[in-house]
Symmetry: C2
Subunit: 317 residues, 2 copies
């Protein structure tokens, strides 16, 4: 394992600018949440090790196994039930072996959960938040954006509504472009990149097939096999920056869905225990801090968006 | 291990108020840092597993061992060198077996680092920050504080300077009160509690003996055996809410100090590697989010200051 930063302790001007932009993205996101009466919260980082979860880092917790969180969506029920609209900015962790320049093992997310919120409301919430961030940055980060060679004018012009595609439409677009992809398949990085290069503005992809998303979203009322889920993608090849949807409400349906996609009984138990503490219908999304920083700054390598990046086999000091 | 919250998913009014106050503490701290031109940063959560560190949680990181951070002070050099004054609000982790109602295994800290800053400047920085937080809360959290039975008037009256004691003075006070404690000993919880009950306002304890603090602080230029370190304690028995000081600059002195207090050669190597990336003289402190929340809200159990508390042998869902 390599502990030393390849670039020594002194950062390039680009890296300094990127880390300053990252701070301003967080600040502008918080100002939007504050204006709209969201309560700031922190979900747990250490979670119970129920089930076998190779995508999570395992820790030894007072002699027993536990995992590092992959996101606080499972805790949104308790939070929205007690506090209404909530948001958090916190680190999450993924132990999957993914390519180094595109994925981090440790990254920060802006997560939000909104009680009694439709998919359309959720999409509009994300649009407003991301427009607020872009517009704030175009005013507050001119110097950094100029240094990074990004257009301040383009950022200031970002307005809702963003282009909206469904998963079904995206599969058609990809097949028309010659990709060999079936309905129901996960979008790979090459697919996202192709789509992302077709647009000069942010765009949504909604209604993913059952079983494709990390969390368990409600079935679409008018479209069998599809869910109330939505991703937000950045243009110019940067790809997915946010994922979200409406989590399944009924415990029976949740358990049926978990069985269908092969979640182990032990992990099902964790969701069931959380759900037994009560359910508030809500919708939520998570925006990747390093991903939105990468897009706004035009960074080739996502590690430039983190002061001390952690990726597969790499821990800089 | 117990996974279920003792109180079910529905929180008491006190807990809701405490979590809202916690959010407002973070918000007011950030507004102070923003006014004073600090750059917001995030240190790493996963750190290299050099040395044997029973007080840190161990994780499996792509087939190798790593640890969860206990705080980003060792990374302050790189951050201040590249960005000047910095702050972060992030989770930290302690695997020590400490009493459940007073200590958390996972908690959040407000950390700051300031280049070229004397101990006196550091003390004044903390005073200003904590006064700003208290005064903001007295305006923005009246409803929550009333529900919790805390005096809004008392918070609004908090002003610098806070009482300043040295470690030497504190040892004398404790011996006068009948405690059997020698100069050089760590202050135990009972000592902190006794001291904290003697004051109705916040107070500092500075110049701790070499080897007592978690980090490695500069030797006091006029007092052999003492360091340039300072803790901030809350009154009414709440005890320590912040710890800080001036980290040792010279690599040779740092290594001598680490050897003196018995740091393993492997862990010394981690500090040495970080230091080889360059050093900027700076001072820093860390304010415990749950600790300041506990004091401001008057909470008996620190777990009330966290939405999903993790303490020894306990992971609520």
């Amino acid at each position: 394992m390599e502990y030393m930063s390849p670039s020594s302790g002194l950062w390039s001007g680009r890296k300094r600018a990127a880390i300053r932009v990252r701070a301003k993205i967080m600040d502008s996101a918080r100002s939007w949440f504050k204006i709209h009466d969201y309560v700031e919260v922190q979900g747990p980082i250490i979670i119970p090790a129920l089930g076998d979860r190779p995508s999570s880092f395992k820790i030894r917790y007072f002699g027993e196994d536990a995992y590092l969180t992959q996101g606080s969506q499972p805790y949104a029920d308790t939070l929205t039930r007690n506090l209404g609209k909530v948001y958090m900015i916190a680190p999450v962790f993924r132990a999957e072996k993914m390519s180094t320049g595109r994925h981090l093992a440790e990254y920060w997310r802006i997560e939000a959960a909104v009680p009694s919120c439709s998919l359309e409301d959720l999409i509009q919430t994300e649009e407003q938040l991301v427009c607020h961030i872009s517009n704030c940055l175009s005013k507050d980060a001119k110097e950094e954006l100029n240094l990074l060679g990004r257009s301040v004018g383009d950022l200031s012009k970002i307005r809702p509504p963003f282009t909206r595609l469904t998963y079904d439409e995206v599969i058609e677009m990809l097949r028309d472009a010659g990709y060999d992809i079936q309905w129901g398949a996960t979008l790979q990085w090459e697919h996202e990149e192709y789509l992302s290069l077709q647009f000069s503005q942010l765009f949504f992809i909604s209604e993913f097939p059952v079983g494709l998303e990390t969390y368990f979203y409600e079935s679409h009322p008018d479209k069998a096999g599809s869910t109330l889920s939505v991703d937000l993608l950045a243009p110019e090849g940067y790809g997915e920056i946010s994922t979200g949807g409406i989590p399944i409400g009924k415990i029976g349906e949740l358990q049926r869905m978990m069985e269908e996609v092969g979640v182990s009984p032990a992990e099902q138990e964790w969701y069931a225990r959380l759900r037994k503490m009560g359910h508030t219908p809500s919708a939520g999304f998570a925006l990747g801090v390093e991903r939105i920083t990468q897009w706004i700054c035009g960074l080739e390598d996502i590690r430039e968006a983190s002061a001390f990046p952690r990726s597969i086999n790499e821990i800089y000091p």
